[in-house]
């Protein structure tokens, strides 16, 4: 990926530039930036308006404010009612969605190329001139409460929520992005307006265009979008480094009539700023990051216990989680948990071998072609670096760093960063039939609790 920083006044000089697969970055007045990745293969343009802040900016007790603020953008602007916005999006052949995570947030749009101008006009007013109508706000709040109830039908989602709450207990990452019945009831429209004012400032935005658009036009359109925002600096990240919670803990999320369980096991993982970030990622891929990984082989291929068996290292601004995910039949759950813990112990104490390292390097190195095979993917690498504050060479030097990983580095990283002793086990299932057996399957269990699936502690 090649990058260059140009002031907006010089962008016209780039009009005759040769088109390449590169992502080009331009600085915008006001502290923002725009990234462009051209591809004229399909007459579509994708636009991402990313912000360097997310739900961690919500004040304590006001969880859900940022997410509501983003969703309110399509509920009314100076020029359009909510209904008119939806009609216009469809007329243009456009889609618009919002994404709010703990550390960042974004508007994602896509439009048929011939309607790009109209889509930008609409986006500009949504971003810069939202009206936050009271009736629409109340409607959205009721909609969100209904979605919270509906999400309880999804067992995997229940496991993820419990894992987040418990693995980050006492830390900002434990807080909900959506909010809860309690916080949504307490939120006011002023809180939501305040959240909008926090995020939507010029210094906090990174825009991205990919697809069937010429770079100079993309830059001009980005300037228009950014100019409408209030002046203001990048929003600082209030989240600190999370700490490890000692001991083995079990949280059993009780749900009736389950024939299957959803199981997440994990603890602290990696930070993109760790010197051993790539070695740890490589070791994790051996352990549970591919279809032939240790976890998949032992749980699915040999025993047929779970349709999927994966280990994952999440990446965020601060250290994120390591987790193993399986979903065996209820009858196989205790044995599956015991096996996963044994595999984790062996992974932490003995690490990986040279043949495994050699194999996974080929897999990761060659499959990298699919991380950059579309303009949209190349664009998002550039935006990730900027929005999450990743090291500048996080993607551009990835293949070289991967190639340099040694067995000793990978195993040292596993020993330092992962633990088989300080782990959280989350099980969604029917406790009356399973709780005792699951407890027995976890040696040295220090803490245990059963939580009803439809209540938050």
């Amino acid at each position: 990926m090649s990058t260059e920083a140009l002031s907006p006044t010089t962008t016209k000089e780039k009009r005759g530039a040769k088109k390449t697969d590169a992502v080009t970055r331009f600085a915008l007045l006001g502290g923002g930036s725009v990234h462009v990745a051209e591809s004229h293969a399909v007459p579509l343009v994708s636009i991402t308006i990313a912000f360097r802040s997310g739900s961690s900016s919500d004040p304590a007790g006001k969880e859900g404010a940022s997410k509501l603020a983003f969703r309110m953008l399509r509920r009314g602007s100076r020029t359009h009612t909510a209904k008119e916005i939806e009609d216009e999006l469809d007329r243009l052949g456009a889609e618009l969605s919002t994404e709010v995570s703990v550390s960042s947030s974004a508007l994602h749009g896509q439009v048929i190329e011939r309607n790009l101008g109209g889509f930008i006009n609409l986006l500009a007013t949504l971003m810069a001139e939202p009206t936050f109508p009271e009736d629409e706000y109340e409607r959205l709040r009721r909609e969100t409460l209904a979605e919270i109830v509906e999400a309880r039908d999804n067992d995997r989602s229940l496991a993820q929520q419990a894992f987040r709450r418990e693995v980050w207990k006492g830390h900002a990452y434990a807080r909900s992005t959506t909010g809860s019945n309690k916080t949504l009831a307490a939120l006011t429209l002023d809180d939501v307006r305040a959240a909008y004012r926090t995020h939507f400032v010029q210094g906090n935005v990174a825009l991205g265009f990919s697809g069937d658009v010429e770079t100079p036009r993309a830059v001009e359109l980005a300037e228009r979008l950014a100019e409408g925002l209030a002046k203001g600096p990048r929003v600082p990240d209030p989240v600190g480094e999370p700490g490890r919670i000692p001991g083995r803990r079990l949280v059993f999320v009780e749900k009736p009539e389950r024939t299957q369980t959803q199981i997440l096991i994990g603890g602290l993982g990696t930070s993109p700023h760790d010197a051993d970030h790539v070695p740890l990622s490589v070791a994790n891929a051996v352990f549970g990051g591919s279809f032939t990984s240790r976890l998949m082989r032992e749980v699915r291929s040999k025993r047929g216990w779970s349709y999927g068996a994966y280990a994952r290292l999440a990446v965020d601004k601060q250290r994120q989680a390591f987790s193993m995910w399986t979903f065996p039949a209820a009858t196989d759950a205790p044995a599956c948990i015991a096996l996963e813990l044994e595999l984790l112990e062996a992974f932490v104490s003995k690490g990986i071998g040279p043949k495994e390292l050699s194999f996974i390097k080929k897999f990761l190195g060659r499959s990298y072609a699919f991380d950059i095979d579309t303009a949209a993917k190349r664009l998002h690498q550039g935006l990730d670096v900027e929005v999450l504050g990743l090291p500048a060479d996080y993607y551009s030097a990835y293949l070289a760093k991967l190639d340099a990983v040694t067995v000793a580095q990978a195993n040292a990283a596993v020993k330092v960063r992962l633990s088989a002793d300080d782990v959280l086990v989350v099980v969604v299932g029917t406790a009356a039939e399973l709780d005792e057996k699951v407890r027995s399957s976890i040696p040295r269990l220090a803490e245990h609790k059963v939580v009803p699936f439809d209540r938050e502690e």
């Binding site: 909900s176 979903f327 499959s367 095979d373």
Partner: protein, 457 residues
């Protein structure tokens, strides 16, 4: 030189170096939007569809077999899907697990899918690894080894997949019941994943018989999209597949579904907080003239937040949380499905009080010009989105070839959408959205779940 002549000459050059009785035949070209799909055939009946796309140095390779769950018999349901799993196992030249290892070592993305009419296998690889994919796919088309231990283990994996997708999933369970109820004689009556008892009863002999019947070059279509050399690829295919014998594929004997003369209703109780309604009307086959207008009508009624029923049931009426509709894309007439989730305190009766009058209205009155414009733009966007990757293009080409015998039909449908009038939509509504052909699945809470819990995101 005419373009067709170029391909004739390439085929002649490939055949000139053939050391066997295997020959390649150029069979024609198909417009695929602005691109061209080239059709070749082998003497043994294998169909090969090629689309050159050099926008990234990768290749996507799909193998479609014209066999799905509609080709199964009662008592042996789920065999096509179980077999898809078994295709990743041992062959006469590759030990168990080696298939996946070789692909991963090459950086491949791979997957497979089975549905009512077809099964496909997919690999995307860096372009220099294409020869390996040709070799692996041709090998498992004829040389698979089916041992008892692997069949037993894979049956357990599929049983767990069924628990995940159906038994512990409210919508999955309702969808299975809808087809079971709406179809009484046609094989669409049973689910592609199969009934649990059938899954657990399969033997290696069942699998062997299925393999010999349906997995043969004359029942397969290979689609290659990406950056490849056409002559070199044809040579590879000739050498890898050319000697595989054709099979006698039995004629399709799926019993036609008799007309449904009375509405049908089934009620089930589930551990969920809110009521759900799933409605199915007998609809057209993908190749029927009524399919395109019914698809556009679906967008008018249910496509996105601006659609009539989303507005009435989700936004204005606040009766539903989730609302979706789909016209099945099967080779025989399937269902026009509507899925609606009631909000807390709302009932299925509340949903139906709005839904059926809205369906009656589109039988009586034509939709507005603006609604028609918006629906067509949404469908155009959807098609373009499906073409953003090589894999997306290969899937579209293979799907339409397998179901309709025309690899470029996606774009012809787009043209058909553009020509449709409001009268065409009304005609389709009158033909298909008839009360006597309606099947309703009512999902009601079993009382084990409270509606007032406190849950976070």
């Amino acid at each position: 030189m005419p373009v067709a002549e170029v391909h004739h000459r390439i085929a002649a050059a490939v055949n000139a170096t053939s050391k066997s009785s295997a020959f390649v035949h150029f069979l024609g070209q198909h417009a695929f939007g602005p691109s061209t799909v080239v059709r070749y055939g082998l003497s043994n009946g294998l169909t090969l569809l090629l689309l050159l796309d050099q926008s990234a140095p990768v290749v996507s390779y799909f193998t479609w077999f014209k066999v799905g769950s509609r080709h199964e018999k009662p008592g042996k349901t789920g065999l096509a899907h179980l077999f898809e799993h078994l295709m990743f196992n041992e062959t006469t030249s590759l030990a168990a697990g080696e298939f996946d290892k070789k692909l991963e070592e090459s950086g491949a993305e791979s997957n497979a899918a089975t549905w009512v009419d077809w099964t496909y296998y997919h690999e995307s690889v860096p372009k220099d690894r294409l020869p390996l994919v040709v070799k692996l796919e041709s090998d498992r088309m004829h040389n698979l080894v089916l041992r008892d231990a692997q069949v037993t283990s894979e049956k357990e994996v599929v049983a767990n997949e069924r628990r995940y997708r159906v038994d512990d999933d409210v919508e999955g369970a309702a969808s299975e019941l809808l087809y079971k109820t709406a179809f009484t004689r046609h094989p669409y009556h049973w689910p592609t994943i199969g009934w649990m008892n059938d899954i657990q009863g399969f033997t290696p002999e069942d699998c062997e018989a299925f393999y010999k019947t349906y997995y043969a070059p004359n029942n397969a279509v290979v689609v290659v999209v990406g950056d490849f050399n056409e002559k070199r690829l044809l040579e590879l295919v000739r050498d890898a597949y050319g000697e595989l014998p054709a099979a006698h594929v039995p004629p399709d004997d799926g019993h036609p579904e008799p007309p449904q003369l009375e509405p049908r209703t089934v009620e089930i109780k589930k551990p969920t907080a809110t009521e759900k309604l799933l409605v199915g009307y007998h609809g057209p086959a993908l190749g029927d003239a009524g399919h395109a207008p019914l698809t556009v009508l679906t967008e008018v009624l249910f496509g996105g937040r601006a659609s009539r029923l989303h507005r009435a049931l989700v936004i204005d009426g606040e009766i539903c949380t989730d609302l979706r509709s789909w016209v099945s894309t099967f080779s025989d007439g399937g269902l026009y499905e509507i899925y609606a989730t009631a909000r807390t305190g709302k009932t299925i009766a509340d949903i139906e009080a709005v839904l059926y009058p809205a369906l009656a209205r589109v039988r009586d009155e034509v939709v507005t010009d603006d609604e028609l414009v918006r629906a067509k733009a949404r469908l155009e966007l959807g098609l373009l989105q499906s073409l953003e990757t090589m894999g997306g293009k290969a899937e579209q080409i293979g799907f339409y070839e397998t179901v309709l015998g025309d690899p470029g039909a996606a774009f012809q449908r787009l043209e058909a959408y553009r020509r449709l009038t409001a009268s065409d939509l009304r005609k389709a509504a009158r033909r298909y959205l008839v009360d006597r052909g309606r099947t309703r699945i009512l999902v009601v809470p079993d009382g084990s779940v409270t509606e007032v819990g406190e849950a976070a995101q």
